[in-house]
Amino acid sequence: MTLTELANPTRFLALTAKLLPWLAAASAILLAIGLYQSATAPDDYQQGATVKIMFIHVPNAWLSMFVWGVMSVAALGTLVWRHPLADVAAKSAAPIGAAFTFLALVTGSLWGRPMWGTYWEWDARLTSVLILFLMYLGLMALWRAVEDPSRAARAAAVLTLVGAINIPVIKFSVDWWNTLHQPASVLRMDGSTLDRAFLIPLLVMALAFTLLFVTLLLAAMRNEILRRRVRTARILEAGRAAA
């Protein structure tokens, strides 16, 4: 089964119909294991029980960037190989990525409240994730602004790739800006290496969230394909009624 064979939407629908229950079950089981392990993980000697927010927060933050990477590959698929499913994937991935980014922001600020004493701190990481969230929203606004899906797809693909080039630049400049404005940062993640008791649940959760993303993406792509079929059928119907 190659990517070109998958280009046929009907074949894609048939394959994903078989795959989806397995993927959904696997992500549910992994999520259950990960949640159990995080709940039973020992408290941190400094942060207490709040360290458990990490097991939700870090996978979300990781996926917020991973999804943009997936969208960039899909954008290349749209612009270079003209793969018919690439723009479906890009369009379906954007709201999921925005949701992960939003959750990363929310869990981050909930974590920040007991640790830093405030919900929002103009910390470099928080700020750059917020900008990433804005870019996701801009991309979704672009998808919604244009009626013709293929036209919107090409514009969104260009913007996604420009964003992929710009995200590291933005990250770097926000780091610079942050050190300029607050010399002493409250939290240093790189100071300590994670203990195994934290690392294993974290990795399980990261894997579970990635599987969850794949499941949601495939389901959203199926919906998008069906939605486009309905749209085409309606246009044909309207044309027949007019004739």
């Binding site: 612009l79 900008i131 804005l134 870019m135 929203l137 801009g138 606004a141 672009l142 602004a145 244009v146 036209r151 919107a152 090409r154 514009a155 693909a157 260009v158 913007l159 790739l161 420009v162 964003g163 080039i165 710009n166 630049v169 933005i170 770097f172 400049s173 926000v174 610079w176 800006w177 300029l180």
Partner: protein, 222 residues
């Protein structure tokens, strides 16, 4: 080369004539800066401290708002199709259009900076620092904003959508522009490092902007 030079000349001439609207950007810049004291109060000390940030924000918004004219007018009268079909590469044509747009709409902002600096009680050194950083940074705003303008013209949408798409991309320019001007005015840091990074951002945008804009014009116009 002569075709590109002619394109630059034509764009500048049309921007400066009636209906061009390049100088409206300066007027907008002036209005934004004049609005600031009403928001933060007439305290000159505070205004001087905020000065570089106010000037940079004003210039950013002014150059953003003039951007949607970059391709729109040419699209309306059909000359954009001629440019796309012409023998000179579309990337270079986009770069020429952005250069002309910067000369017509960006340079006046920098010329206006000393006058606006007076209103904000900036001394000569601070004003020239801000003007210098604007000179180095506004090309990056124009060339990255051009991507948004190209998307907007292929989608027949302008205005707010363009601003929403382009603003996050211009954050690095704003950060280093303000950092360099503040370093020159008060900061313990040196002026050189952020200024050089600002120049680097402009140089990067010279490469990325024309290619992305040309790609979106080629894909989007039919």
């Amino acid at each position: 080369m002569t075709a590109l030079a002619a394109l630059v000349r034509r764009d500048i001439r049309m921007a400066l004539r009636v209906g061009g609207g390049a100088l409206i950007g300066v007027l907008f810049f002036l209005s934004v800066v004049v609005l600031m004291p009403f928001a933060v109060g007439p305290d000159l000390k505070l205004l001087a401290r905020l000065g570089p940030a106010i000037l940079w924000l004003g210039a950013l918004l002014a150059s953003l708002l003039t951007l949607d004219r970059l391709f729109m007018a040419d699209h309306e009268d059909g000359s954009l199709d001629l440019i796309v079909m012409s023998r000179s590469p579309l990337e270079l044509a986009c770069a020429a259009k952005a250069l002309a747009h910067w000369i017509a709409a960006g340079l006046p902002l920098i010329v206006a900076t000393p006058v606006l600096g007076l209103l904000l009680d900036l001394d000569l050194l601070s004003t020239s620092a801000v003007a210098l950083t604007l000179l180095a940074g506004t090309p990056a705003l124009t060339f990255t904003g051009m991507i948004g303008a190209a998307l907007a013209v292929t989608l027949q949408r302008g205005g707010l959508l363009l601003a929403v798409l382009v603003l996050p991309l211009s954050i690095p320019v704003l950060i280093f522009g303000v950092a360099a001007s503040e370093a020159a005015i008060s900061g313990p840091r040196t002026f050189g490092a952020p200024f050089l990074i600002l120049c680097a951002l402009s140089l990067i945008s010279f490469v990325i902007g024309p290619f992305a804009a040309a790609a979106s014009l080629r894909q989007g116009l039919d």
